[in-house]
């Protein structure tokens, strides 16, 4: 089946919506998304929920350990744990 230039499936729209939350959707993808957004209730609802999540994540200023820091913590902790068990 020939793929439409402007019409995209709901799954595609949701993926574009996700990518645009991270600034990774192209202009053309956004255009196709907006076209679907106009008539698809599910796309609109997901988009609303997704934007809300992005806003909350930004506002929270949440921090977490970087992968390397977590590995270091793991190593130090495991060494301490082994040491405790030997005593």
């Amino acid at each position: 089946m020939k793929k439409s230039i402007l019409f995209i499936s709901c799954d595609e729209a949701l993926e574009i919506c996700d990518r645009s939350q991270y600034g990774e959707a192209s202009f053309w993808e956004k255009l196709k998304f907006n076209f679907r957004f106009c008539w698809c209730k599910m796309t609109r609802s997901y988009s609303k929920q997704n934007k809300k999540l992005t806003k909350v994540m930004k506002e929270s200023n949440i921090e977490c350990l970087k992968e390397k820091e977590r590995q270091d913590l793991h190593q130090n902790f495991d060494a301490f744990l082994r040491n405790q068990e030997q005593q």
């Binding site: 994540m57 929270s60 977490c64 350990l65 977590r70 913590l73 793991h74 902790f77 301490f80």
Partner: protein, 182 residues
Amino acid sequence: MPKHQLDPTKWVALYSDYLFNYTIARVNDRETAKDLVQEAFFSALKSMKNFKGEASERTWLISILKRKIIDYYRKSNSKKGQAEIRISYNSPKDDGDWLAERVADLDKTAEGKLENKELGDAIHECMSKLPEKQALVFRMKTIEGMDTETICNELKITPSNLWVIIHRARTAMAECLEQNWF
């Protein structure tokens, strides 16, 4: 039999992010926060026999961490506090209601900070309910802000895989936060 039991082998995987976020919101310094979390884990290991099993593992770890944070502030004593009190006002015209303004500002800041801490707690709570891989990818992409290519290379997944994982994680996070926060 106690309601809760301890399993230290899972502590770092399950609670390090939550404890780190809890700490950094209170000490504002990444290195100090990392050290305090590590110290709290070590202290917890040493005092495992004191765990009565009434509180959850996480609550118990937080109570130990709180003591570590208090100790940290005691040690760093009042120098910082004194510096913060010295508010410089450039002109005498500013004298008026400066104290009232300052108190109002502090109230607003404190309120904002408290709300952020609670929101941070809610986000970590929701993230802890995600499957391990979803939580990892969501954290790397959303909190650490890593680019797609780096994550894919590190985790050996394709970009399509990554977006499927992100989609599932975002849906679960939004539903969870809907119940606990929004």
